[in-house]
């Protein structure tokens, strides 16, 4: 029987890659659990609250978007809107061209992965350098990130050392500290030579227009200390209603993502630098990006827009751990990706219609989600969509249910099948042309068929 692509990917995954992904995910999950529950009196209540706040934002974007635009403009920020990936990339390019800028350093932002910004800028003669260590390594490897927080969870030190050697970053040395120091030295000069710094935003307060950008490396801070122009690409759903809500979300984000109370750098950016400050951007732009988010908003899966990109769901997901991020063939892997990627694809949903099937619906993702997204329910909705739209990728490996439904709504036929199934105990089931049965028996034995036994016992037992 044909099996799903993601299953095949998992089967073919190199053992050392699988081990790296598994260990990294497991560690991330375990540490998260302790840092949330040891420190905070009622962490689960916080997740529910945060989910309600985000759901409120998502369902009131028609109010909050104009509000945030006004707040940003009042802070001296130029606001741009980009309905598509192309528009977002063009907006960045035209800001650069207006400044005569040819060098940009960028911090990690998943939106820019969606739009493939770096590739677009390079094609248009702009040097665009990733500064997050993991993303920098992905860039020089011409690879793709495989986790939304830990981009090179799938790589080991030997691969990185070879990569550095091939890219003129010193003779082969796979000591992690040496690798990090070399990247520090190399990127330092790049920051200082760049014209523009580009970041995303983890949150934007609709009340004050403050952008909140968090990192551990200090790379986004360096972008905003070394360059003269700041561009922030922000998905339209990244808003929070009030500044005070940051107190809640900042307590959830780092704990969920990297098991820290706070990341090393939590930066609140309200506008270009203060006049007396020698370093930093004199000009600030925010590009509010749609790129399919309004399609998600329209769907019956809009809860996924609550996502704050922490990666906790990836870390706990048993399927992600087996398959790794690249199996999902899209910017967002793991449980969040299985919902978001097919939806962001809009009309190209069929190309990713198998992603929602890659789940045993165990629900561990929802349990760890800091905004309580009911991911299994959303996966189920997307499976219904895949079936309705007859998406071939979704149908692979799925036993047809029409005949079964008929059987299960006709008690006489059902009872006959219960009895008739006993034949299976006498047949070489491995040879039966039933794909599902074969797939089962390739890995597991089947229990003895005992259809009708319970009903017979009930009927025949001595009456009281």
């Amino acid at each position: 029987m044909a099996t799903q692509r993601i299953d095949q990917f998992a089967k073919d995954l190199r053992a050392d890659t699988k081990a790296a992904v598994y260990d990294g995910s497991k560690k991330g999950h375990e540490k998260r659990t302790s840092v949330l529950f040891d420190h905070l009196p009622d962490a689960n209540r916080l997740r529910v609250l945060a989910g309600e706040i985000k759901q409120h934002v998502v369902e009131n974007l028609d109010t909050y978007l104009p509000q945030v635009e006004a707040a940003l403009q009042a802070n001296g920020v130029k606001v741009h809107w980009a309905a598509t990936a192309e528009a977002a990339n063009e907006a960045v390019l035209s800001i650069m061209r207006a400044r005569g800028a040819t060098k940009i350093v960028k911090a990690k932002t998943m939106v820019s992965e969606e739009t493939e910004l770096a590739h677009f800028l390079e094609k248009n003669g702009v040097e665009c350098l990733e500064t997050d260590l993991g993303e920098f390594i992905v860039q020089i490897a011409h690879d793709h990130p495989s986790h939304i927080v830990k981009p090179i969870i799938h790589k080991n030190r030997r691969e990185i050392a070879t990569l550095f050697e091939q890219n003129g970053l010193g003779a082969y040395n796979d000591d992690p500290e040496t690798i990090t120091r070399r990247a520090r030295q190399h990127l330092r000069g790049k920051y200082l030579a760049a014209d523009v710094g580009l970041t995303g935003a983890n949150f934007v307060s609709a009340e004050s227009g403050r952008l909140v950008i968090v990192t551990n490396e200090g790379n986004s801070r360096f972008c905003l200390a070394a360059t003269k122009c700041h561009i922030a690409m922000v998905g339209i759903e990244k808003l929070l209603p009030r500044d005070r809500d940051l107190g809640l979300f900042l307590n959830l984000l780092a704990r969920s993502a990297t098991a820290q109370q706070l990341t090393v750098y939590t930066e609140f950016v309200s506008g270009p630098k203060a006049a007396a400050q020698p370093d930093g951007p004199e000009e600030m732009h925010v590009i509010l990006v749609d790129n399919g988010r309004t399609t998600v908003l329209e769907s019956d899966c809009r809860e996924i827009l609550r996502c704050i990109r922490c990666g906790a769901c990836l870390n706990v997901c048993p399927v992600y751990r087996q398959a790794s991020g690249h199996a999902y063939r899209s910017v967002y892997p793991g449980p969040v990706g299985a919902v978001l990627s097919p939806l962001l694809a809009g009309e190209r949903f069929p190309e990713l219609a198998d992603l929602p099937k890659a789940s045993s619906l165990c629900g561990a993702c929802n349990e760890v989600c800091p905004v309580n997204i009911p991911i299994p329910d959303l996966l189920l909705r997307l499976r219904a969509k895949g079936k309705r739209e007859k998406a071939p990728l979704a149908a692979v490996g799925s036993p047809p249910m029409g005949a079964w439904a008929l059987l299960a709504s006709q008690p006489t036929a059902w009872k006959a099948a219960l009895f008739g199934g006993k034949l299976m105990n006498y047949l070489p089931t491995k040879l039966l042309p039933i794909p599902a049965l074969r797939a089962w028996e390739a890995k597991r034995t089947l229990p003895a068929w005992r259809g009708g036994e319970f009903r017979a016992w009930l009927k025949n037992r001595p009456k009281k």
């Binding site: 048993p318 399927v319 099937k357 045993s360 561990a364 219904a384 979704a394 229990p447």
Partner: protein
């Protein structure tokens, strides 16, 4: 999941039993043990003969029209207002969570909700429906409890552990990485067989490391998958349903 408003048994303790299609086909002793346990607790158990399946396989596969057809049949079969007891976390969850989801745009949603409000998984019913928190008899074994995923958000596993822990002779041992799924996932087990069996093997590793005599679960689907894997690789494990342990404890204590 909001399970706060479920129908409690009346003074006559009349209940309906949904045996589940899996027990109907493979695990008749689990359904039998469920009846014996409920009757021991003074319940009058009705088994609506026309029952077939809760509709979960088609629901999970995305064929909601097919699933709804089966659920509608189930609604008819279980007409009434007494609690419906299900010896399966996943079938119970299908009725109180899955069915309302796939019927949210249907005119017969109220009927589906009515059934949802009457549906109880067995261990949850014993502890929180009947108020029974300790179990008599005897059962000498070191037990690992498999926390079937569809019991997430419910009181089933806590109820099962409370009952098991109270039985003289039982020792419940913890299992590592308890939140990781066994890999069954319904049709997932056949459309993603590699991932499903890798997950199962990891689960078996953790279980074996805890050295239990017996693996117990509120859900036979997980047990079918894990015991099938274990047997295929030549190292079978012993599995039982919670109902069977409770029934056997009574028998050992000469209470049944």
């Amino acid at each position: 999941m909001n399970l706060a408003h479920r129908v409690l048994p009346g003074p006559d303790k009349r209940v309906q039993l949904m045996a589940t299609c899996l027990c109907d086909a493979f695990y008749d002793d689990v359904a039998r043990a469920t009846v014996e346990v409920l009757e021991y607790l003074g319940c009058a158990v009705e088994f609506p003969e026309g029952q077939t399946c809760c509709g979960q396989p088609a629901f999970n596969g995305g064929d909601w029209p097919a699933s709804r057809k089966v659920v509608r049949h189930t609604l008819q079969t279980f007409a009434g207002d007494v609690p419906v007891i299900v010896p399966s976390g996943s079938c119970a969850a299908m009725l109180f969570h899955g069915a309302p989801l796939e019927f949210e745009k249907e005119v017969d949603l109220p009927a589906v909700q009515q059934l949802a409000d009457r549906t109880w998984e067995l261990a949850d019913f014993i502890v929180n429906g009947l108020g029974v928190t300790t179990w008599p008899g005897r059962f000498d074994a070191t037990i690992a409890l498999h926390r079937a995923c569809h019991t997430r958000g419910t009181k089933t596993c806590d109820s099962a552990i409370a009952l098991l822990n109270s039985i003289p002779g039982i020792k419940v041992v913890p299992v590592g990485e308890v939140e990781q799924c066994c890999g069954f996932g319904g049709t997932f087990s056949v459309s993603f067989p590699n991932i499903s069996s890798s997950m199962g093997e990891l689960k078996l590793e953790h279980i074996r490391a805890a050295k239990p005599d017996l693996l117990v679960s509120p859900d036979m689907s997980c047990m079918m998958h894990l015991s099938g894997l274990a047997q295929k690789e030549g190292h079978p494990i012993k599995t039982m349903h919670v109902a069977q342990v409770l029934r056997d404890a009574l028998k050992n204590g000469k209470l049944l």
